[in-house]
Symmetry: C2
Subunit: 175 residues, 2 copies
């Protein structure tokens, strides 16, 4: 059983609301089990929990988490810490090694990441060496980690479910 959680640093309430919500939703849709926010922000927690209630699965969110002790706890529990950052190793060089681990904490930052973080983690990984987005970086990382299998994932206990089709809209509500 593989567990992947995200630790989101540098979230500023209001200002980063949409980007952090997208980080959380992308994490959930692409196979992660939960997200920790290193900031207190009940509005994000609420919006993610509403999606989980409606769309199913067991994705969890916790805000106001101390990032250093979060990383320490994961390390003590045998977890592997992967930091997504522009200045790191190529994804292709490390992904097969990381895929062998079964407890992964993926750290994604905002603009400013504490310097000490680089040395606390097991892998600093770059998703390209170009500027883009924590959302797209996380998406590519998770998709490579789960090797596309996450795209077919089913979510139990869902009120809403979409039936794949070629044209048009077909939603099913169990609510």
């Amino acid at each position: 059983m593989v567990t992947v959680r995200i630790l989101r640093l540098g979230h500023r309430p209001a200002r980063d609301a949409r980007v952090t919500t997208h980080v959380g939703l992308a994490a959930r849709a692409l196979g992660a089990d939960g997200i920790y926010l290193a900031t207190k922000d009940p509005s994000i927690v609420k919006s993610i929990e509403e999606v989980v209630k409606r769309w199913g699965g067991n994705f969890s969110i916790r805000d106001g988490v101390q990032w250093k002790s979060c990383i320490s706890r994961w390390k003590e529990g045998g977890g592997t810490i992967v930091h997504l950052i522009m200045y790191g190793q190529r994804l292709n060089e490390v992904i097969s090694e990381i895929r062998k681990k079964d407890r992964i904490l993926v750290v994604v930052g905002g603009e400013k990441v504490p310097r000490t973080l680089y040395r606390l983690v097991d892998y600093n990984v770059s998703i390209t060496y170009q500027p883009h987005s924590e959302i797209s970086s996380l998406a590519v990382f998770l998709d490579h980690f789960f090797d596309g299998i996450e795209l077919e994932k089913e979510y139990p206990y869902a009120e809403m479910k979409i039936t794949p089709m070629k044209l048009g809209k077909k939603g099913k509500s169990n609510a």
Copy 2:
């Protein structure tokens, strides 16, 4: 020579500034050639063009584009229109077919997408059937389309370039 451009619908200036900037940067970093905005917004154009100037490559951006005539022009020019949407076909079912095409316009929307769009495009494609983000959807699509090759792409004419390394920061400025 494969050309991939993005058509971004539903952008609202100011409100969507960061999300649309992330869409543009993810498009550029993951191998696309340019983006059209179906809204006038010079501030987004400026911020993307600054990244291109600094980080290299030939990514182009145009705002204030009429989405219908943009799609028509691409169709007339033999292009394939791929619309990323929650209600569509599975990525895995269509990606090998789409990979054979050499001119792709990827349409990503905001919340409200004009109904007629579904019928104007060649493919409605779902990146999972879960709610997430146009940024993560586009990232997964481009990464599957280019099959990970885009992660190694080099950008000519760059002022800035990062040297891959295991720990720490090493940027090179040619400016």
